[in-house]
Amino acid sequence: MFNYFINGRKKAINMFMIPGGLLAIIGFLGGFAQGSGSPIFYFLIFIGVILIIIGSSKVRNLSIEFKNKFLVELLNKKFTNVIFDASNGISRSEVRKAEMLPRGDRFKSNDYISAEYDGVNFKMSDILIQERHSDGKNTRYVTVFKGPFMEFDFHKEVVGKMQVREKSRISLFDRYERIKLEGVEFNKTFKVYATDSHTAFYVLTPTIMEKLIEIENDYPGTFYLSFIEGKIYIALDNRRDNFEIGVFKKIDESLINEFENQLKIISDIIVDLRLNSKLFK
């Protein structure tokens, strides 16, 4: 079942990535040893890089094929009305609508999932946001967010806007009022910003506060949450690109289990935050 992917990836690594890497190293070391840098070494580095790019693209295509087969199967088992697109993701404008992540200069998203769980519609994507840092001579991109971004329907009637974020992070939401709730443990872990206090107290009931602490503990990474116009947006900066077969990962049942664990956050959020409650529909 997995042989096609194992062999395909082995071929891409052996035929392109390893030779490409070797050529690039030889070119770099040769140029470095010679000092002045002969064109032949630049050529070797160039060919090496090209081979690595071809190899990576072959692995990426295999990854998409793998997801279209196994991930879609898994999604259909767990959720209903599934739409999956491995190459595209939630758009930049939609992410900005959540008002919770840094805007960044470079934005990428993939693995778009739209489905329904226990009557609740949701969307999920892997997001990468990078900021350009320049010292005048060199420009480099620094990752400011990498991980899943999720959007859920929230049927509770909320007029205002609210943001919840981990206390360790620098606040971006000075334009909203800082709200202190009565949960001591919650206040230690999170900062809450809202357009008005009532919205925060209405949405964040004692049970929801407790569950948010549990979710935060269960999923390593920096947690962002926002309630805007009947939607809950949740993002987890865990520096991971989910659902990828990568170059070194073992392709077998354990990879499917890993995908399943990466999807568990969806059902956990819907059940723990009681988004599936009859009251909110």
Partner: protein, 178 residues
Amino acid sequence: MWIGIGIAVAVLGIWYIGTYNSFRSLDIKIEEALSGIDVALTKRFDTLTKMWDLAKKYMKHEEGTLTKVVELRQKNSGTLKDAQELSDEMTKLQAGLNVVVEQYPDLKSNQTIQEVQQASFNVEEHLQAARRLYNSNVSIYNQKMVMFPSSIVAGIISATKKDFFEAEASKREDVKFD
């Protein structure tokens, strides 16, 4: 030396004004939270009377509770004591209505009563949020009043301890659904 004394007096003055203003601002927040409770109680009253209209033929024994709720609603002057009393009576009436709805299947299956019940759960959540917000502000105020050095300013302005909005034991938990 005079410069030192001048700086000390200025610092003390700024601190006093800051602390005084924070007491005043908390006072306003408490007042606002109390009117939030009043708004939620009005909504709760509306949903309860709608529910009563739909279930009244089954509610012969609960008429006294409704009369009391209506009376309390009329004499409600927006104070904490009035709000608390009204809220407690409404809780009793709500409980009575819920029991009756459960007892009569034809009533329970009525689409309108289901919608009103749903709305009353929602209103109840708003009331709880307003109550928690009020108590949270009162708690901050009371702590500030007894903590040194803000207790000095509290003494000067004769600040008094505020009362909490006490909910019945059954209402201290989140609303249960499903």
